[in-house]
């Protein structure tokens, strides 16, 4: 049963449609990550759900109740913000207690619940501080505590890890899913970090220019991106998008990429003048000439986590990213060598329309 339903939502500013006829649903206790580049309308969408701005068209239904015309205070949502949005003139304690104050809950219970949630978020030692005395990580934990304390059924998280340092972001990325599961709540989570989206989302909605271009599980989005734009947004280094043509007379079993003919396993998907999407990890680099391998020059090598990222240049100038486990290029004698051979593993390849970028 869907818990949050967004129906045909539209919002324009100065004739510029920021949200365009948007519809999606979120199941009870599901975490939906809304992912997209900046300016895609993510923040506007969240503010529409929160009730800070009203849509021009469409409805928002939470738990069977149409809340489109309700004021924010009647929506019973929790929300945490990118910039924390703590009340600077109140202590962390009062910040966290704020949702309970509006419900006129007895002080003893407020006390007990604030300490419970503060402990859960490991900020119980700083609740007497003003926000300005807190670190960014503590600020965001305070904001999260505030959004959780009243046990809302729906929580909106607006890129909450954007302004915290890398270490805290890493910790929270691990901690948040457990926390949200423990509080038994439905979550809409906005981010522009694809790793965060993949780590936290039960499903991911990819928002581009006010439209959802794909809504699916992280795995599906990574493995079957709906178009080349989405394919590029997920993955670091980004997916290679290479124009291809079919080799005449091969019935589509061979394609020409960067002036090199490559066999296409399965023989499906490609058509003349489309774009091949190939993840860098599916490009193997070696120094021995192999059948079907493409002669390349290695322009640059950078380590990335436990892998090595190489920027290759084909004979016709096409740039290709390759990524291989660290040490894969073993043999110190090979270091500094520029000429190499790239083998494209097309078993995980994607083909996209050249014009619209749609998946073929």
């Amino acid at each position: 049963m869907s818990f949050l339903t967004v129906q045909r939502l539209s919002k324009a500013y100065k004739k510029q449609e920021v949200i365009q006829d948007l519809s999606f649903t979120v199941d009870r206790l599901e975490t939906l990550v809304v992912f997209g580049p900046s300016g895609a309308g993510k923040t506007v969408l969240l503010r529409l759900i929160a009730g800070m701005i009203r849509p021009d068209r469409g409805n928002i239904i939470v738990d069977g109740r149409d809340i489109t015309d309700l004021n924010p205070e009647h929506r019973h949502l929790g929300m945490a913000f990118q910039n924390f949005a703590l009340y600077p003139h109140m202590t962390a304690y009062e910040n966290i207690a704020s949702p309970l104050r509006s419900r006129r809950i007895a002080q003893s219970e407020v006390d007990q619940r604030v300490h419970e949630v503060a402990k859960l978020l490991r900020i119980d030692h700083v609740v007497s501080h003003l926000p300005k005395a807190l670190s960014n990580g503590q600020k965001q934990r305070t904001a999260l505590a505030r959004s959780l304390i009243a046990k809302p059924n729906l929580i909106l998280l607006d890129d909450p890890l954007r302004n915290v340092d890398a270490k805290v972001r890493y910790e929270m990325r691990l901690e948040l899913p457990q926390l949200l599961r423990a509080r038994e709540t439905t979550v809409v989570y906005v981010t522009q970090d694809y790793k965060e989206a993949m780590a936290l989302g039960d499903r991911i909605a990819v928002l581009v220019d006010g439209r959802i271009e794909q809504i699916a599980t992280p795995r599906e989005i990574y493995e079957r991106p709906a178009n080349s734009r989405i394919a590029r947004l997920f993955g670091d280094p980004p997916i290679n998008l290479l124009p291809v043509s079919t080799v005449p007379g091969s019935q589509g079993a061979q394609i020409r990429v960067a002036s090199t003919d490559v066999a296409l396993p399965g023989g499906a998907g490609a058509r003349d003048g489309c774009v091949l999407g190939l993840r860098p990890e599916d490009v193997a680099v070696g120094f021995e000439a192999q059948p079907g391998a493409m002669p390349v020059e290695i322009d640059a090598v950078t380590p990335l986590n436990d892998r090595e990222v190489m920027l290759l240049r084909a004979r016709d100038g096409t740039e290709i990213f390759a990524s291989a486990p660290q040490g894969h290029m073993a043999g110190s004698g090979q270091r500094g060598r520029r000429e190499a051979w790239a083998t494209l593993d097309l078993s995980h390849s994607h083909f996209f329309d050249t014009a619209g970028g749609a998946r073929l």
């Binding site: 869907s2 129906q7 045909r8 539209s10 006829d21 948007l22 519809s23 999606f24 649903t25 199941d27 701005i53 009203r54 849509p55 021009d56 068209r57 469409g58 489109t68 015309d69 499903r203 959802i212 809504i215 699916a216």
Partner: protein
Amino acid sequence: MSAANSSATSTAPAPLRSRGAGALPYILSLPALLVCVGILIPFLTAVFYSLERYNLAFPQARKFIWFGNYVKLAYSSEFWRTVEVSLLYTVFTVGFELLIGLGIALLLWRRSFVTNLLNVLLILPLMVAPAIASLMWKLMTNANFGVLSYIVTVLGFPNFRWATSPSSALFTVVLVDIWVYTPFIAILLLAGLRGLPRQPFEAAELDGVPQTFVFFRILLPMLLPYVLTATLFRMLDSIQQFDIIYAMTQGGPGDTLMVFQIQSYLQAFTFTNIGRSSAILMVLWAITYVLSKYFMSTWTRLRERAHGLA
């Protein structure tokens, strides 16, 4: 339940909703709106007065005469004298205040104990009511005991009679205006200067760029929005100056200091000629209206910059 299903439904747009903000902003600004209306009513009345032959001494003769008052003004040397004096007053006050104010701002640019102290001292004249300031200078230029009268006598000008002589009256009130309002320009320009980025000046210094070049090609252009705002602000006040002149000489001696508002005050309260007085004020209003349009556009730009809007 997964994919967006907008394509499944019709492609016609969903029905338009009414905007939610509703009446709240209007309720909040209603009192301010009422004040607006409360001012617009007398304003429109004044426009009407200016089109009437309306002298309190001859109530029976009151009559709507279209632009009769304005036509009479156009042929009146007294009115043109008013225009002349007002313009002179504005040009002299704003011109000198701008030059001196810019000089002071540059002088106090670099922060130090002395410049901070001077910065505070500069505020003081600005806090004195212009009418009171005028009275202070009236005492200082008193022929019997005024310290300034004494000083000019010592300097060899025993006949310099400040505001009581037609030849020096304008000079005296301009001096008072400069004393009161130069700090205004200095303080605004100083804020502008201190808000400027440092890099261009440091780069120019490193490159050994001549100071005159730095001043005219780097500093002045960057400071221009502040200079414009301060200047227009002062012009708007200066062209309608009343307090200083009224407190000093009430427009005299003779007609030496009959600026717009003094002249219309005289027309209304001495000659009870409301129609003519209103017509003079309408001319002044037209001038200030044009100036205030310019002012508001430069002012808005500064404001957006200060508040990081765009």
